[in-house]
């Protein structure tokens, strides 16, 4: 299954390694260094799954999540966070995130979550086209 992934994180190193690892598995990744950049990309293009860092300079991850959900309700968002803030976790899940993952994330686990999130999106899309 082809999955369109958007990775949003301000840490260039992290973005680079992740992109590489997804590529090895034949999953192309687009990356954005900030929330604003991510939202601009989402205006132009549909993504299946967004992997979104919670803490970024500028617009904070939860606000980005909020706007993604409004802009692209079918796109699934997996939140990534370096520090486990329970409050942010609750807010993220309540805002409709698919999952909330702690950094450092095990890559295979993340990959599995991405696949499941994409599956959910596909189910939603087909439910919608059925009316």
């Amino acid at each position: 299954m082809d999955i369109n992934i958007l990775l949003v994180d301000d840490e260039a190193d992290f973005v680079e390694t992740m992109t590489k690892r997804f590529r090895i598995r034949k999953l192309p990744v687009t990356s954005a260094g900030s929330g604003a950049e991510a939202l601009k990309l989402l205006d132009q293009q549909d993504f299946d799954v967004v992997i979104l860092d919670v803490r970024m300079p500028g617009m904070d991850g939860l606000e980005v999540l909020r706007q993604i959900r409004a802009k692209r309700p079918l796109t699934e968002v997996i939140m990534l966070t370096g520090h486990a803030s329970l409050d942010a976790g609750m807010q993220g899940m309540n805002l409709g995130a698919y999952d909330y993952v702690l950094k450092p994330a095990d890559f295979d686990e993340l990959l599995d979550k991405v696949r499941r999130a994409a599956e959910r999106k596909a189910l939603n899309v087909s439910a919608q086209s059925r009316g």
């Binding site: 329970l86 999952d99 909330y100």
Partner: protein, 331 residues
Amino acid sequence: MSAPNPGDSRPGGARELLSRATGARVWREHRLVLWLHFLVPPVLAILVEAATLASPGHATLLAVAVFLLAACSARGLMTSLSAAEEARNALNAQLIQSQKLAAVGELSAGIAHEINNPIAIIAQETEWATHLLTEAEKATGGDFSEVRDSLREIRSQVDRCKNITHKLLDFARKREPVLQDVDVTRLVDDMARLVDKEASYKDVTLSRSLPEDLPKLRTDAPLLRQVVLNLMTNALHAVGKGGMISVTAQADEEFMEIRVTDNGHGIPPENLDKIFNPFFTTKPPGQGTGLGLSLCHNLVQGMGGNILVESQVGRGTTFTVRLPRRLSQPA
């Protein structure tokens, strides 16, 4: 009964209550008693008549027997009638609760929607004022730190409002569950990891002991995550230093149960039927909106299950989420 319809896929729920409340099953189960009620007295009356002619002693004994028999079957009948009445009341209460939740959901979504825009404008203007202040400081070299503090406070209160309106909008959002095969053990562990750090600050142990052979559950993963996270957070708020929270799960053919137990302050009996109401909270303002459990209630119901609570003041609380294992994908 045999035609599969959506209601049939939820055993133990409204349908069972309904059949009990309408008395259909009561009637069938007590058919024998009812027949006895109608047939035995005349038969015995005839016997008594006959016995009176033979000997008054036998007649008295027989009369007493008839009386006792009638009393017993009447009692049986009364019990089943009052059980039916109770079931009807429970069903009514459940209906009222659902309607109330739906009404509150609609109302609050309306309000939240209206208030959202002004709040966004206040936030923007505060941002703009802060910017202007910085310019003014540069231009005049004056110290406006008190104004700055005040603007910061406005900003943080606006954020609080925003949070509440978003919670409300989320609360009212209609969600059709999307069913996937979910590894519940993993899901619970993922959510527990979010709670772990805060738990360790409070010196609280959050243990999860889910059986290794727990079957996958066909359900909506993000919705279930929300439920589990809400219950664990509530438990964390309820326990003191050194408290214990444990999450367990078990499954049989039909249901999976996920249980969150804490040894916290418990819930007084008079609050037990209020905790699922929207906006019911015992937490100080700013710390709880009282939407967590009503959201859980909605979500679990939407997944075809139910959520139960048992609590003892001073000893602790257990929330049980009971989900059907076979749920048909909504068409």
